[in-house]
Each structure stands twice: as C-alpha cells, then as structure tokens.
Assembly symmetry: C2
Homo-oligomer: 467 residues x 2
C-alpha cells in the first residue's frame, strides 16, 4: 500500500475518532454576534490550538479587539514546497428560535434522517464540520507520512458570522506570516449530495442597520394617529420601495459594476438547471422572487440583491398596543457581484433612505461589515488540479459554479496578500445553516477529509510527479 | 354651609386620603394584554369591589372568560331619580420599555415636574386616576348627605387595553342590570390644562395582526437571496402601500361612511387651533403627517387612519444575521369615524393584503377587537347640564370637541342599551398614556372629583331645582 493509500485507509478506519473531535468542537457554543458567548468563542479557539498542536502544527491563539484568531504552521516537506494558507471560521450563528430545534444545537449526534446519515448541531456544516475535514486530513497525512505534501498555514477566525471586524486589521498586521502561494477555503457547498463543486465566484456583502426616528416618545395612536409621523409606516415605505415591479433594485447606480455572465458559462449552468428546480421546492417555494427573466443560478450566483433581514418596532408582544412608536429599525443587506463597490452601495443606500424621509423623521445608520464580490478566472492550475482530485474521489466531474453567499476573506486574500483562493466545500443547500436543525452530511465529512488529502497531495506535486 | 358646599369642602380637605386610594390602585400592575398579569387584574377588581362597598355601594366582582368586571349599585334618593351608569377600566397598558421610566411605574408618587404637580405611574391617567375622580366624588357625597343625587350603577372592566373581548357578551347577558338613563364615561382629555372639555365624537378602532409566511424555514440570504421570497420585503411593500402620496388610505371603500364635518363645527375648532400648534411641538414634531389640507383637529377627531403599531421579523438582536425569515408579522390598527363599518374595514384590509401577496406567500390574520365610531348630537340635555357644571368648576367655558382615541364601550352603550354617553375626562395630551412616565395632573384629579360632584348633582336635579 502506498503512503497515499494508507492515508485514505486511515481516514476510513478512524472516522469515529474524527467525528468525536467534531462533536467536541460543536459542543462549544461559539456564537460570535452575541456578547454573552465571548467566553465560548475563546474556548473554541483554545480547543483548536490544542488540537493542531497535537497533530504537529506550531499553533497559537492570537488576540484581536474582538474574538481571537487561531494561527498554525507546518513546514511540510521543506521550504521549496508550495505553500497553502487554509482558512476557516470557528464561530457560529445564533440558535434562535430555540424551540424549533429537534435536539440540543450544541449536543451533536450522528443520526439517520430521511435515509441519510447526518451530523447534527449548530456549526455542523457552517463551518466547524467543513474546517475539520481539512484538520482531519492533515492529522492522517502527518500520522502516516510524518509530514504534509505542502507547507501549510492555518487561519481560523471567530467573527465570520458577525462581519469579521478584526480580520482585515489582523491580516494587515501579519502579512508576512500569512502570505502563501494560494489559499484554501472550505466554507462552500457541493452541487448536490453526489457531486462536488468548485466555486468560481462569491457574492460580496454590505450590511446596514437603519433606525427611523420621529416623535420623542411612543405615542397613543388614538390621540396622535393621523397627525403624527409613524416611523413604522415610513420604514415600510422605504423598504417597500427598494425593488421595482420587475424585481430590480431601485437604488441609483446599484448595478454599476455588475457584468453580464458570459453565454458559455450560462449554458454550462443551464445543464445543471434540472437539479436547481428542487432548490426552491425543498424550502416550500415554487418560483423565483428576484429579477424577472433570469435563472435561479444566475439570480443567486451572478446577480446582486437587496434583502431585509430584520425589522422591529412598536409593540410586538402578545395582544395589541395601539402605539405609534418613537422609532423603528431594520437590518438590510446587499449581496454584491463582480465589480460592485461596497462603499458606493452603502452611500447610495443611505442617500436613498434620506431622500425618502418626511419632515420630522431622521435616519440613524449603523454599519455591519462590507466586502466586495470575488470572481476567479475560470481556468487556472489551482482549479485544474483540485478538479482532478475531486473527480477521482467522487467519481463524477466537479463543475465550477457560483456562490450566493459571501466569504469576505477571499476578497481580502486577493487584495492584501495577492493570493487566489481555491473554494472547495462539502455543504449542501439543505444543511439548514443559520436555521434550526443545522446538519452536515456524514458522507460530506468523510469524503471531504479524503478530498483534502487528495487535493493537498496534488497541489504538493511538481509537474510530472504522481502520487 | 349647604350640603353641596360641604361636599366640595370635604373633597378639598381629604385630598391626601383620596390620593392614597389612587396610589394603592396604581400599585396593582393590572396589565390586561399580558397573561402573566392576570392575577394582578383580578386583584385590582377585588380592590375596587371592596372600596365601593366601604363607600356604600352594593358591589361584586363578576367572572368573564377573560379578566373580571366590577359592578356596583347605589339606589341614590329613590326609584324616581335619574339613573346613571358610570364606566371606567382598571386595566393598564404594558410598561415596556421599562428602562425609559424615571421611577417604578407601579409606585406612584406626587411630585413636581416642569412646575406642575403630578401623580406618576402606569394608569395614573389611563384610566385609574380618571375613574377614581368619580369614586371619590361619590365617597364624599355619601359621607356628607348619606346618599347620591342620582341612582348610580358602576361598571369597571379589565380588558379595555386589550380590545374588550368580554365586554359585549357581558353587557348582553346583563342588560337589565346595566341599563340606565345615560352613561358617564371618564376616559377622555381636557382641551388644555385650564379648560375642561366634553367629547362629542370618538373614533372607532379595528385591530389586525397579519403574518406573512413564505419559505418553510429561515433561510441564509447568501444561498437563497435573489431567488426566495422575503416576507419582510413583502410586508414592507404592503404596509408601504397603505397610503397614497396625499396621505389618504388606499384600501378600497375605506372612506365609505366618512362624513365631511359641518363647517360650523370646523370653525369652532379653528378657534382652538392656536393651542393645537403645541400638540405636535410638544412631542418633537412640527407638521401633520396625515391627509393633506386638513387641520390637526380634523385629522385626529374626524378623519380615519391606518397605522402600523408594530412589526417584527427576522433577526432583531445585537449584531447582524443574514437571514431571510420564514415569516414576518405586523400589528395594524384603523381609527374609524362616523359611520365606517368595522367589519367592512377588516374585510377590505384583508383583501388588500391578499391581493398583494406574491406566489409562494400566504397571509395569516388575527383579529384584535373592533368598534365603530360614535358621534353624539352636539346639543342635548345631558351635554347642557354637564357643560354648565364644568364651567362653574373651572371658570371657563368647556368646548365640545372630538376625540382621536377609541372608547368601544360608548358604541356598545348606544347599540345594546340605547343610552347616550357623557364623555368628560380630565386627562391632558402630555399625560404620556401608553408610554413611559405616564402621569396625571394633580389639578385634574382634584378638580375632576369636584367636577363629578357638580355634574352628578346637576343631573339629579329636576327642571327648576337648584343646588
């Protein structure tokens, strides 16, 4: 048995041990957006540092103004070997509404649901399960061969779900340490449960919170209704105005920097369309809600959006209260594509709101992160090798697809460290990330580990070598 | 000193004792809309029953499917005397946001604020302070004369702030007991701190809660944004569509039954306009928000409204969560005037929402009470006597004004018991009812008691008698 085959065998034989590691990590409730869980975030970072040291990395927990980073290094076969920077995030989304979970979100289990074996729990997919596929691949490779096929630096952050406020300053301050030949990111989806995929494009994100203020107190709608400005009404009008009748966003200059996707790419996506039909059906919907005349894949991969993510104002408890509130708040996010400028989008959105304010109303804005979209070249050595490795593991060709979600780090790697990123992940659309009952496929975890062993081996080879 | 003068003297001399009664009632947190306070509502009812018995009424706490009623009777000078039914409500609004109160909302104090002596606390004005002006007047009259000038029935309910679900069935089931010659209601405002007022018109109310449902779970706005229906966006569009650019409500047939106010009445209101300027200024606003081209008094007294009282959906906690929620909810209320039909308004609103639902979205409606508007004849014996009594007490003529808020009971008294209602109250627009730091003017409480002694005496007199 070659050392490569022995790595794969080891990953098969020790799957239970790998799952125990993942369950231990899920058990730490590292919700980054809620200050009550700051201690848990640190605990998750410490857990990862210790685990990486046990594997053979030089690992450290690094302070930031927010939640800490984990940085680890392995020299691989030597200084001439290709150098990979692997990125993941150990923080997770809040778990509310808790009563919609079938089981404790932090007590992960391996169960069968709908005929599939799954790993349950908050972060099972996003991103603890995904990042552990890479960690477990490294553990097996070092155990079997004494080293890794590449030099490897690992960067785990703890603020990805809350806008990554510390990430850019940290990378800027540690450029020399973090710079590598390319980045590997495992925070994306497969095409379907049997077909791996490589993500060639990622949407960017602008997060905004806007509060409309009117009277200096909550008012009785009987005494004042009809005469006093109602911030809920004003907010509704503004948010209801964000799209025109064809689903296009109406903010001026919103589409500046949005490119039409090449026909060849659209055609390749069209071949995938049949599976995409299920995309909406499996969440109880039947037809696209966005811009008219575009496929679901184009809408979610190559078109920008304006989405309301939360509204609160007035009386929202049980029963009824006839109040005109003093203020109303909305959280709004924009998914960006291609060359859209996050700063311009934010500025134009704020102007859009200001222009629609009646007299007596003011708007207060709060920024929640921003990152441009990333569009990788459809052909590159990195993609070619990874595509080959994935095809060998899964037995089907891996398409190069788009990604609806944002992974801000990928843009940062491009602009700050001059690195392309290889986006390979094993999530599925029905993993319910950010929702109750998040899960990760056991198959994704198992073959994900094997895939990384193959990819890292392929990337470590010089031209003409073979495993 | 006549017995009538001795009543007024007693009310002056024993003001502190009257305030102690009021403080004890405010101390009971009878929030009707919140099930956690059901016990406190019952406690308030029991407190009133006991107090009324001590005064000399035959009083009882009466069960309903919700919070109990208090019913009390006094035979006055005999079976031929005019018979008054006095109505008030012992329940209060919720106190959130609690951190905006300067002091405990249930620990009432008599303090000076902005040069005025006030009674603080939730319910100080709405309606505990107001109803106690009548109770204290009765206490003094019975103590001084051994009886009351009229036969008096008292009805206190505990669900006024949550739509009065039990009131109509209770009145229907107890018509013979509750029927009187006329009703007295003390839940309205003075024109200003020095000028009492009689309310000739009251707006009705329709309360609706609507929840828009889309996908069967919360969604990640990255994966699904641009393709999946967003209930917050749908809700915003619908609520933003409720008014046209001139501030008119756009629901079909909404203005059916709305009459133009007679020019003579508008002219009398116009004379009051100067004080009305302060109406908006004192809440930090400067110009009317509603229908164009109408005075503030007309907007709040004689025009209907559609107001959003609460919206909640998506992520509303600290930080940001890029979610497309499965649902979004709004509480919406309509103030009605003249002959608008509450059932038609509700039906037309629901149709308005349904018509605007995109495919894949459904709307779930929940009813929160409904009552028609009341418009009393501008001239009647009841009004004339009360106006005279108020003028004597306050030394200025009491105008007959409109009322923006709803007092559903008044319509019920008309339809079920065939009684007109005399609406006299001593609240002020800046009493902050339904808001933090609710208060009642000490002067309102004191002169309110004296006013009821005068009014009840005037109403008990046959033509030609004098006190």
């Amino acid at each position: 048995m070659s050392s490569f085959d022995s790595i794969l065998s080891r990953l098969d034989d020790r799957l239970d041990g790998a799952l125990d590691h993942l369950k231990a990590l899920i058990a730490i409730p590292s919700i980054s957006t809620d200050p009550d869980y700051a201690g848990a975030c640190r605990q998750a970072a410490e857990w990862l540092r210790q685990d990486l040291e046990e594997i053979g990395f030089r690992a450290s927990v690094r302070e930031t103004p927010g939640h800490p980073m984990v940085v680890a290094h392995h020299d691989g076969p030597g200084p001439d070997a290709p150098h990979a920077l692997f990125y993941g995030h150990y923080d997770v989304q809040p778990v509310d509404p808790l009563d919609e979970w079938d089981a404790d979100p932090f007590e992960s289990e391996i169960i069968e649901r709908n005929g599939r074996n799954i790993v349950t729990g908050r972060g099972a997919a996003d991103d603890k399960g995904q990042l552990m596929t890479f960690v477990e691949a490294c553990r097996a490779m070092i155990a079997e061969t004494g080293t890794l096929p590449c030099r490897v630096t690992i960067l785990f952050e703890g603020e990805e779900e809350s806008g990554s406020p510390s990430l850019l300053p940290f990378i800027e301050a540690n450029k020399d340490e973090l710079k590598a030949d390319f980045a590997l990111v495992c925070d994306t989806n497969m095409w379907d449960a049997d077909t791996p995929a490589i993500s060639g494009g990622l949407r960017g994100l602008v997060g905004e919170e806007v509060t409309i203020h009117a009277a200096d107190r909550d008012l009785h709608s009987g005494y004042y209704g009809g005469a006093a400005a109602n911030p809920l009404t004003v907010l509704s009008r503004i948010l209801g105005d964000l799209h025109d009748e064809t689903g296009r966003v109406t903010i001026p200059n919103f589409y500046d920097g949005v490119n039409e996707t090449p026909d060849a790419i659209k055609a390749s996506w069209q071949k995938l369309e049949r599976s995409a039909e299920g995309f909406l059906k499996e969440i109880g919907l039947s037809e696209p809600f966005g811009e008219e005349g575009r496929s679901i894949m184009e809408l979610t991969w190559a078109r920008p959006t304006a989405e309301v993510n939360g509204i609160v104002g007035g009386y929202t408890g049980e029963g009824f209260k006839t109040v005109i509130p003093a203020k109303a708040t909305a959280k709004v996010s924009f998914r960006l594509v291609h060359d859209q400028d996050p700063a311009a989008i934010r500025k134009n959105f704020r102007a859009f709101v200001e222009e629609r304010l009646p007299k007596d109303c003011t708007a207060e804005f709060h920024e929640h992160g921003g990152s441009p979209a990333v569009q990788l070249p459809y052909e590159s050595g990195l993609l070619t090798k990874a595509k080959q490795a994935l095809t060998e593991e899964w037995g089907v060709e891996a398409p190069i697809i788009g990604m609806g979600g944002s992974i801000p780090i990928v843009g940062t790697f491009q602009t700050e460290l001059g690195m392309d990123s290889l986006l390979v992940g094993f999530g599925l659309a029905d993993d319910r990330i950010h929702s109750p009952n998040e899960k990760y496929e056991l198959k994704s975890f198992h073959k994900g580990m094997r895939s990384w062993a193959r990819i890292l081996t392929a990337l470590g080879q010089k031209a003409g070598e073979s495993a």
